[in-house]
Symmetry: C2
Subunit: 137 residues, 2 copies
């Protein structure tokens, strides 16, 4: 709770109940969340637009990052605290086709890829789809 405020303060954001709630939702549910998920969880307390703006702000400040799967856009906490200037996201996301959850695989890094001449890579994003341990029985 105090830690939430600390996180917001570090990123020069005012502490508001919406931001606290969104942030703690990300921390509690560990998987990636869509705007719709958050609206489902917090929608009675906050306006749609406010949640959109909160996500946008968190994105810009490097608190969360985008996660893409074939169904659309989600967001997940940045593990290694990213800054507004630098986002380093060469980690892997796993989407389970059974339960639908998408998770970051921490500590897993994307193996080096040999690109053809002239390509200058800056960001890597690997999405693996399949079945997760929970659903794999």
């Amino acid at each position: 709770m105090e830690q939430l405020r600390q996180t917001l303060k570090v990123h020069h954001l005012r502490t508001t109940t919406c931001r606290e709630d969104v942030l703690s939702t990300f921390i509690n549910k560990k998987n990636a969340l869509s705007h719709g998920d958050l609206e489902g969880a917090l929608g009675e307390n906050y306006d749609r637009v406010t949640i959109y703006r909160t996500l946008k702000t968190f994105l810009e400040k490097g608190i969360i990052h985008k996660v893409l799967d074939d169904e659309g856009l989600r967001y997940a906490l940045c593990s290694h605290s990213c800054s507004e200037e630098k986002h380093q996201h060469d980690h892997i996301h796993f989407k389970c086709n059974a339960c639908g959850e998408t998770n970051c695989l921490e500590n897993q890094h994307i193996p080096a890829v040999q690109l053809p001449q002239g390509y200058k890579p800056e960001n890597f994003n690997l999405l693996i789809q399949g079945t997760c341990p929970k659903c794999n029985n």
Copy 2:
């Protein structure tokens, strides 16, 4: 032209001008296309909805596949003809942040990833963002 019809026939689709035009657009422009791109190119001739349905049909038949980047959804031709049953897409997409184009890197495959216990992968999707050869000067 005759080849287009052949492609449609192989997948048990009726040859219509819309399908021919959409397919030839994919073949001519080599990069991944969004629905909006196609609507821009063909929108005067066909209804929005028809283009959506054409894309959906091509997806199901394995003629095209989805390409995701942080701006949304695009589609690209399947190189190794996929079937309705099996889609194998362990190739790499490169999105240029300068010109905005997204391309499939043919012949490039995603290196093996060691997943934690219990994860059963089925599909791999690697998006690399950076600068492409055309823009890299």
